[in-house]
């Protein structure tokens, strides 16, 4: 057996498995721990051998109001995604099909807003929403914030997909007499459907997982699953079982969604890289 086949048959698969396990282990450990009691979770002798229990899950739904947080997560993520697309599609359309002299600059500027550290605007955001606008801890606020956070990346993705549509097809539409809405509805969206779906999916996942603002701009009314996890991170005690159960229940839906839409997701994540 020469060196090349040794590498191909043993070393490469081992490395791949190593990396995969490295990434998967924390998730596995989280799910694993969620079936232990808080007491068992910290005892070394119960590391692998323990009596599984659903206590944490029962506790979570009965005492910690899991469903209310979950519903908030769904509401804010769905509406934020819809709002982002409603603003993002026309914006990306305009920049892709009717670019002006400064379109490139605008795109770069939009992306640059992502470079601003969120912590830098924490105080003004809290002050404005709490004392001035009075929208602190509302669905409305969270939807707006999530939309604004995701808008740049959504516009960039849609812009890339729209750019792939040949200009002549749009012009053929003009010759055929479609107005601007017909153009978007009958030509652009059907042709960019795959891209639009993966953009929406990614946007939804980003909204669902967002933690910085959802934790800081809510207390109870609009609190999402991120807030629930944060709330169970008790400073004095180490309720690892409970925390793991909450975390598992929070990431569960999005993992299932991602699993079913894997193909779209891969296309979305590699946008621009493969044409």
């Amino acid at each position: 057996m020469n060196q090349k086949t040794i590498f191909a048959r043993f070393i490469r698969p081992s490395l791949a498995w190593g990396v995969a396990i490295l990434f998967f282990f924390p998730i596995f450990w989280m799910v694993f721990t969620s079936f232990k009691t808080d007491a068992d979770a910290v005892k070394p002798e119960y590391l692998f051998l323990f009596t599984p229990t659903f206590e944490n899950y029962v506790n979570m739904t009965e005492n910690y109001d899991y469903w209310r947080f979950a519903v908030n997560s769904v509401i804010t993520s769905v509406f934020a995604t819809v709002l982002t697309l409603v603003v993002g599609v026309p914006a990306a359309y305009a920049m892709a099909f009717d670019p002006g002299r400064h379109t490139k600059d605008i795109l770069v500027w939009m992306l640059s807003t992502k470079m601003l550290p969120a912590a830098a605007v924490l105080y003004p955001m809290t002050f404005l929403t709490k004392n001035f606008l009075g929208i602190f801890d509302t669905h409305f606020l969270i939807i707006i914030v999530l939309s604004l956070i995701n808008l740049p990346i959504v516009i960039w993705m849609l812009f890339t997909y729209f750019k792939e549509i040949p200009k002549e097809i749009i012009e053929a539409g003009k010759m055929d007499g479609v107005n601007i809405w017909g153009e978007i509805k009958d030509i652009v969206l059907p042709l960019a459907w795959g891209g639009l779906a993966s953009t929406a999916l990614l946007c939804f996942i980003f909204c669902w997982n967002e933690a910085y603002w959802t934790v800081r701009l809510t207390t109870t009314e609009a609190a999402t699953l991120s807030k629930l996890i944060e709330g169970n991170r008790a400073p004095e005690g180490l309720f690892f079982g409970r925390l793991s159960a909450v975390s598992t229940a929070a990431v569960g839906p999005i993992v299932v969604l991602g699993w079913f839409c894997q193909k779209q997701l891969v296309r979305g994540l590699t946008f621009g890289a493969v044409k």
Binding site: E168, M175, D176, V178, I187, L191
Partner: protein, 345 residues
Amino acid sequence: MASVTLQGVRKSYADVGVIHDVNLEIDDGEFVVFVGPSGCGKSTLLRMIAGLEDITGGEISIGDTVVNEVAPSKRGVAMVFQTYALYPHMTVYNNMAFGLKQARLPEPDIDRRVRAAAEALHITEYLDRTPKALSGGQRQRVAIGRAIVREPEVFLFDEPLSNLDAALRVNTRLEIARLHQRLGATMIYVTHDQVEAMTLADKIVVLRDGRIEQVGSPIELYENPQNAFVAQFIGSPKMNFLPAETLAKDTLKALGVTARPGTMVGIRPEHFRTTAAAKALVSATLELVENLGEYALVHLLTEAGKEIIVKMDSPPKQAAGEVIHLTADKASLHRFDQDTGARIS
């Protein structure tokens, strides 16, 4: 049916002018071909007539209406794009019906028009397919069909044959000629291929750098090019240009042609004939013969070092390296100013 009139038409991007003061009269039912090298503005001019490009200055009228501010779909024109530009997500039927649906025509009318056009273009059996499942030639037919169903007054073709292979190109060219005969509509056709221009056009418009160089029937352009640019653009192989001082003075005198220094004389490859040394207008060394059976293209090098091409009925007897003596009739000598390229008559 409608005529098309361009008056002082200009186009510029920022400060760069691409179309300069174009005046052109296209009669009702005429087949006009815009021809020129790439970047000469022929496609831009067509797109301005279509309404896909803004008009910086001047007026474009279709029929009696100035259409500068009229939307493309309201101009009574239909366009066939170089890349076909079919809607990939629609069936052939819907590709053709789309414009009619936008115009809110009654459904039976749409159906009748689409089926009639499909029949004429032999694409009826493909009506339920999407463009993806069609060959290049079939897509081109659909693109033409999409234009026909709108029953436009003016057809616009933007290099419609350049994506087809050679054999299909000749066929489709014939079909476009037949279409023009059958419909009698005004057609404006853009190409860089002078063969397409010569075979299809009632009137050719030769463009260079956003200006019209000459307008005329194919035969006028062939026989009476107004400048050296048009002379070398129309006709294949290209016209030969020889500086007057390199031609035999006695022969020129005998032909009754005066050619001052600073003049070039243009002679088409098919107008040369061989002659005796004493009667030669120009003598040249044989370099290479391309024998095409029907005729032969003979490449020669003159004493002054100019390459010339001569089209002969059969290959010459001389071998490479030998000298051939050539002359031509007075009528086929075109004189141009060496600096400006303008015709000297």
